[in-house]
Symmetry: C2
């Protein structure tokens, strides 16, 4: 699913449009206006609007997969792995606020079951990788074992998501990386 330069441009514009003005304003017209060429030109690069959105979701999935495997393969202790994952997210979203707003708002993609399935897949990807790391940490005694991996995942990942959503709602008017560090310090205290 390699995207051409133009396709990538169209996908990036789509992310920005959704983040700034909502899914309702993701129209071929608005994309073309932003891209600087005519509406039909879009169809030289994508078969349909559906294909554009699907390419967008695929790119989200690729990023997730990359970060998760990156995180897992390094020979770190479980706490460092979790920290690395969280900080990578804060880093990445600070650099690309639009992606943050769209990626963590799966309620947007409910109009087509293929979209929601993709979002579910991504969520599942996160959940299963993180829970493996958590279980490993519990086994090694690095993490407290009186809380199931599922619950611990919900606490770690849920607080991350809320923070990022608050940041998006508040128009990015605070330092996400800083607040993320503070949150991590608090979470770390709780899970060890």
């Amino acid at each position: 699913m390699e995207l051409t330069e133009r396709q990538q441009q169209i996908v990036n514009i789509s992310i920005k449009l959704i983040a700034d003005q909502g899914i309702q304003n993701l129209t071929i017209k608005n994309i073309s206006k932003e891209a600087g060429f005519s509406e039909p030109a879009i169809y030289r690069h994508f078969d349909s609007k559906y294909a554009i959105i699907m390419a967008m979701l695929d790119s989200f999935q690729d990023i997730s997969r990359f970060v998760l495997t990156e995180t897992e393969k390094q020979g770190l202790d479980s706490i460092s792995k979790i920290k690395k994952f969280l900080f990578d997210r804060y880093q990445r979203f600070s650099a690309n606020p639009s992606a943050a707003k769209v990626m963590f708002a799966e309620g947007i993609f409910r109009d087509d079951p293929r979209y929601s399935q993709k979002m579910l897949d991504i969520m599942h990807q996160h959940a299963s990788t993180m829970q493996n790391i958590i279980r490993e940490g519990q086994f090694k005694g690095e993490l407290r074992a009186d809380i199931s991996a599922r619950e611990m995942f919900r606490i770690i990942f849920g607080s991350l998501r809320l923070l990022i959503n608050q940041w998006g709602l508040a128009d990015c008017n605070f330092d996400l990386k800083l607040e993320g560090e503070l949150l991590w310090i608090a979470v770390k205290k709780m899970i060890t």
Copy 2:
């Protein structure tokens, strides 16, 4: 902002439509089809589509306000207050899954700044009330004091939101109240 029976019906249908098919399929036509009368009849009860969505968000706000004041006024210790709030949410959303999907998906309402402002207000309502309860609990020694109220709120509320979103994504195929109780047990261990 008292709603007539018909207005309430239209709002409920709208919530269901968004939950089931996404905001893109919230159209006057679909509402009227679901309601069983013609499109123009909708305009006997609301001035515009905007007014319908705003009434919906207002009803969310009313519910939130009610639950939060209910929670706060009872002379309980802070932990019981938090528990009561969480369980009320699980109870309410179990009974009304559509509302859960819509209410906790603020990414849906980004196309009009008046919508996002309302969602921000609701979030703020939750945050400030809960943080007051948390601070009170920390002062009384019921909650650990080495974590700021803001972080603790993000952990408690973020994990609740994630659980509810997972439940929505998974088509309500697990027992929300049961999972909610398990999550609460885990969270309680961490915050005391």
